[in-house]
């Protein structure tokens, strides 16, 4: 290790090494997943757009994984910022600023490491940036339809229900999944698909689908790092804590996320 590397590690927040390593692992898992789903995403996009979403995202996340892997002793903020910048540069089109640009801005919320509070702030800022940049809201058949239920469910699960973060994340993924399903029967109001008018009804939004894949990988890596099973979620009602969740000790869950 060079002196520069040592200096970075010394200046980083406590626990940054483990959190940074987890963040890099998550990026690598996302890159692998998006590559696996490349044709699937292309297929979804060719029905309503210009069939470049799968290729652009796969290229972008592969580059992001490389860039994150090259960081020496990274902290989560640096990983998020690096990934965001790389996606911004490599994905292009509208997905570059939406997926990548938003990440660059949200990254600052992780400046003091990953805690339940900072994770909520990160998620909220990310959603806000995507909404603003794309001028899209729920029901426009965009990535916002997956992110909004995910972020709202995550925030509520942490702040109101005091669930352990890993359970909150599992519920968020579940909510995103239903958000993706919600894009199918509605009409596109933003993005390339909106030009199809009513013909956009019946198509699953590729951007929302990508967001779901990303969240699923974040959950898988988080569970792996915490050495727990991915929690089962009650798909019928994400806003009402189920009995199982209520029995958990929120403090213990919150603490374990840091470790």
């Amino acid at each position: 290790m060079s002196e520069d590397d040592a200096g970075t590690a010394a200046g980083a927040p406590a626990g940054a090494n483990a959190e940074g390593a987890a963040a890099v692992a998550a990026v690598e898992a996302v890159a692998e997943r998006i590559e696996d789903e490349r044709d699937h995403l292309t297929q979804l996009d060719s029905a309503i757009g210009d069939a470049d979403h799968g290729g652009n995202m796969a290229r972008g996340w592969a580059a992001a994984a490389d860039a994150a892997g090259d960081l020496a002793d990274p902290d989560p903020e640096t990983v998020a910022k690096t990934v965001g910048k790389t996606l911004m540069a490599e994905v292009g089109g509208a997905s570059g600023p939406l997926f990548g640009g938003s990440l660059v801005f949200a990254a600052a919320e992780l400046g003091d490491g990953i805690t339940p509070e900072s994770a909520v702030a990160f998620a909220e800022t990310y959603l806000e940036k995507v909404e603003d940049r794309g001028d899209a809201r729920v029901g426009d058949q965009t990535v916002v339809d997956a992110l909004t239920p995910a972020v709202h469910t995550f925030k509520k699960s942490i702040e109101v229900d005091d669930l352990p973060p890993i359970e909150a994340l599992a519920k968020a993924v579940d909510a995103a999944e239903r958000g993706v399903a919600f894009t199918v029967p509605i009409r596109a109001r933003k993005g390339r698909a909106s030009y199809l008018g009513w013909r956009s009804v019946g198509h699953q939004d590729p951007g929302a689908t990508s967001a779901l894949f990303i969240l699923e990988e974040l959950l898988a890596v988080a569970a792996d790092r915490l050495d727990v099973e991915i929690p089962e979620t009650d798909a019928s009602s994400p806003t009402i804590p189920d009995d199982e969740a209520a029995e958990d000790d929120p403090a213990e869950g919150a603490g374990s996320e840091d470790g």
Partner: protein, 337 residues
């Protein structure tokens, strides 16, 4: 029989933008330089101090737009995307950073979804770095409200007039808010409509982007070969000119006696002969409507690769805009002495 692969002077579709930019700097080594590892061209003598910087950018294939207007009295720099694709936000960010001399930056954005999102992301990042940035979105195309590439009206050839007027204002030493005000004044007073006689052929695809019969033309096209508002039988130049001019003038709704600057713009593969024929009827029509031509530009200002066709731009001018359009400009594509 038409060949399926069109003949083009390219080497590899993947290299065409890169090689074009190198060719441009080689043609204008005293005016243009390229930021390393980017597709961004900037003034060779920049950043120019005591002046608001003007930046723009967008997909390639519209030459001389965008980099052709870099120079004294117009732009300070421009980012080139791939053919018909927006530059990425990081390239816009580098562009803004490289052109800022501390007096602020005005970003001139054509209203296309990708351009707007990438530029806005870059602006927000530049602002975090302490650069003062304002932006203006040009949407002069009167043909369509929503198109294949944008919500709202598209930004097309009227953008050149924004570069000219705002560039002149910046060269006079006006502050950022004043330069922005002038840019918005042009946007508020300009309208454009175009027609395609043939489709363009992108290097990537190698075949026409859309099918247009031998006896058909498309009215209300954008600059990417995206569909227009109406497909009709081919008509004599005067009739086409009337269709386009009527649409623009109806949209602008000018008072009799209003002075205007007009642009007849070739889409890339239309001979100047035809552009002048169009201009002849355009000027007649302005007279019939009681409008006064202050200045008439004819040429290829914002093209769509090898598309045949033309667009007509009309901009209402007042004393301030006349002074700014007359002010000196010294760029590869436009010189006013």
């Amino acid at each position: 029989m038409l060949p399926t692969i069109m003949k083009k002077l390219i080497n590899d579709p993947d290299d065409v933008v890169d090689e074009m930019l190198d060719g441009m700097t080689a043609a204008h080594p005293d005016r243009l330089s390229r930021l390393p590892d980017t597709q961004v061209l900037v003034r060779d003598d920049g950043p120019v101090g005591d002046k608001v910087a003007l930046v723009t950018g967008g997909g390639s294939g519209h030459e001389p737009t965008h980099a052709g207007y870099i120079g004294d009295g117009m732009l300070d720099g421009a980012a080139a995307g791939d053919v018909f694709s927006s530059p990425t936000a990081d390239e816009f960010e580098e562009l803004i950073g490289a052109c800022d001399a501390g007096d602020g930056v005005l970003a001139i954005i054509k209203n296309y979804e990708g351009d707007v999102m990438n530029f806005e992301t870059a602006i927000e990042l530049a602002e975090m770095e302490g650069v003062e940035v304002e932006s203006v979105v040009v949407n002069d195309d009167v043909a369509v409200e929503d198109s294949l590439y944008t919500s709202g009206r598209r930004g097309v050839c009227g953008t050149i007039l924004v570069h000219k007027a705002a560039g002149a204002k910046a060269a006079q030493g006006a502050d950022l808010s004043e330069v922005k005000r002038v840019a918005e004044k042009v946007v508020d007073n300009v309208g454009t409509m175009g027609t395609a006689l043939t489709s363009c052929v992108t290097p990537e695809k190698g075949e026409p982007t859309f099918d247009l019969g031998d006896d058909e033309i498309e009215l209300g096209i954008g600059i990417h070969g995206e569909p227009g508002t109406e497909r009709t039988e081919a008509m004599p130049a005067d009739e086409v000119t009337e269709e386009l001019t009527d649409a623009v003038l109806d949209d602008l709704d000018l008072d009799e006696g209003q002075e205007v600057l007009t642009v007849v713009n070739g889409m890339g593969a239309t001979p100047q002969m035809e552009l002048f024929v169009v201009n002849r009827r355009l000027q007649e029509m302005l007279g019939e409507r009681g409008l006064e031509t202050y200045d008439a530009w004819v040429g290829d200002y914002m093209t769509s690769l090898d598309m045949a066709g033309a667009s007509i731009t009309v901009c209402a001018v007042d004393d301030e805009l006349k002074e700014l359009f007359d002010a000196p400009a010294d760029t590869p594509a436009l010189t006013v002495k």
